[in-house]
Symmetry: C2
Subunit: 236 residues, 2 copies
């Protein structure tokens, strides 16, 4: 399957395999979930390729031909071009599928939405990522301490920001890229690192509201076909 | 000074203090340098407020009124609005000062440029940041090992990407936000963490070309007024 995609990507004209965009994803990848929400939000018909992070499929030479950084997610466009980095993918989807905008039109509000998204993507997510924590050759207890400390600092800053700028959603009354990053981040913090969200009422309220929406539920890790049965829980 | 700015920010109409944008910066902040390059590139007349990271000025209550995440950089717009996160600030500058574009017009090339910038901002920079490394309560040797390992993984991925997509600059022949992120990242890797760049010829070549340009030199850490004399070296 990977070879087919690489061939497809190298062709100058779209091949039959590339009539729909293709998302490389894994149920447990926080940043892949951001893009799954965006694809659902825009109502884009897309194909899925599941990369098994548990067996290290993202580290294979075949996958590194697609993404040399060996990370998820990765989008193959309808014309066979590769885009990596979740926020770059979401900006591309916004530019090419303008219905149901993900960014406010005002440059200032757009900057606000992007800033919250980056706050999560640069300051919080990398410090709870398995690839990073696995490089910490320290015992389980210290590793967990580091991870929780970094998460607490990140969540405190984000909570203070949302106290000032949020409404029903992160940026007032409009759903934006900030919300697409918030929900997956909270999932990782709670499910992987047992972070108690009680000290963060704004984050909790916005996350709970968003989780009533079909785009966020359908794209949820537990609703993905590659999520092992023994990992699944009811989505709440 | 911080109080003046907060007052200014809370006013509905621009105050006299806000006739020019104001950048909160520190010579040693990698992400602040990205924004300094963008401001120079656009030829924007701006004011500077130096936040002393060494004395923890970014952690004070006064600064947290401006940026609850207590990080640099932070831009106060001409109308007194606050924007945080370097990439969000640069996108805002692009939207409001369109001369000398920093992003390609094509959505696909724009995604490519943004993806390289995010590759640096999400995957490399956070793992060489003092605020993160300081939370690692492990001896100097282990801390350095972790930092170097994470940097090597990040630089290898970036080098492979640039081998495929770069020209004179990161994205072919046009200077973009990707270049604004590359140069500061290389500075931190070399000067703070003694990373040898020989294994990364594409990164090195592009960085060296960019460092001949006045926008990158003027904004360089060693050319900032808040850089202590004993830290300064000739810019090369």
């Amino acid at each position: 399957m990977l070879e087919q995609i690489i061939n497809c990507q190298n062709k100058r004209t779209p091949s039959p395999q590339c009539q729909r965009p293709i998302l490389y994803t894994n149920y447990a990848s926080e940043s892949s979930w951001r893009v799954r929400i965006a694809l659902e939000w825009k109502g884009i018909d897309y194909e899925t390729r599941y990369i098994n992070l548990a067996t290290g499929e993202h580290l294979t030479e075949a996958y590194s031909e697609i993404n040399p950084c060996r990370q998820l997610p990765c989008l193959i466009t309808k014309t066979g071009k590769i885009i990596t980095q979740s926020i770059a993918i979401i900006e591309y989807l916004e530019a090419t599928y303008p219905e149901r905008p993900i960014f406010p039109k005002s440059p200032l509000l757009k900057a606000e939405a992007l800033s919250v998204a980056l706050n999560i993507a640069c300051d919080i997510q990398p410090l709870q990522a398995e690839r990073v924590l696995n490089c910490l050759e320290i015992g389980g207890e210290l590793r967990q301490q580091f991870c929780r400390r970094m998460l607490e600092i990140g969540l405190q800053g984000l909570e203070s920001r949302l106290e000032k700028i949020s409404g029903t959603y992160c940026i007032g009354e409009h759903i934006t890229i900030a919300d697409f990053c918030l929900v997956p981040m909270v999932f990782t913090a709670r499910k992987k690192h047992n972070i108690d969200l009680k000290p963060y009422p704004y984050i909790t309220k916005i996350r709970n509201t968003l989780m009533t929406l079909p785009e966020f539920r359908k794209s949820h890790p537990f609703n993905q076909p590659d999520c092992p049965q023994d990992k699944k829980e009811p989505v709440s």
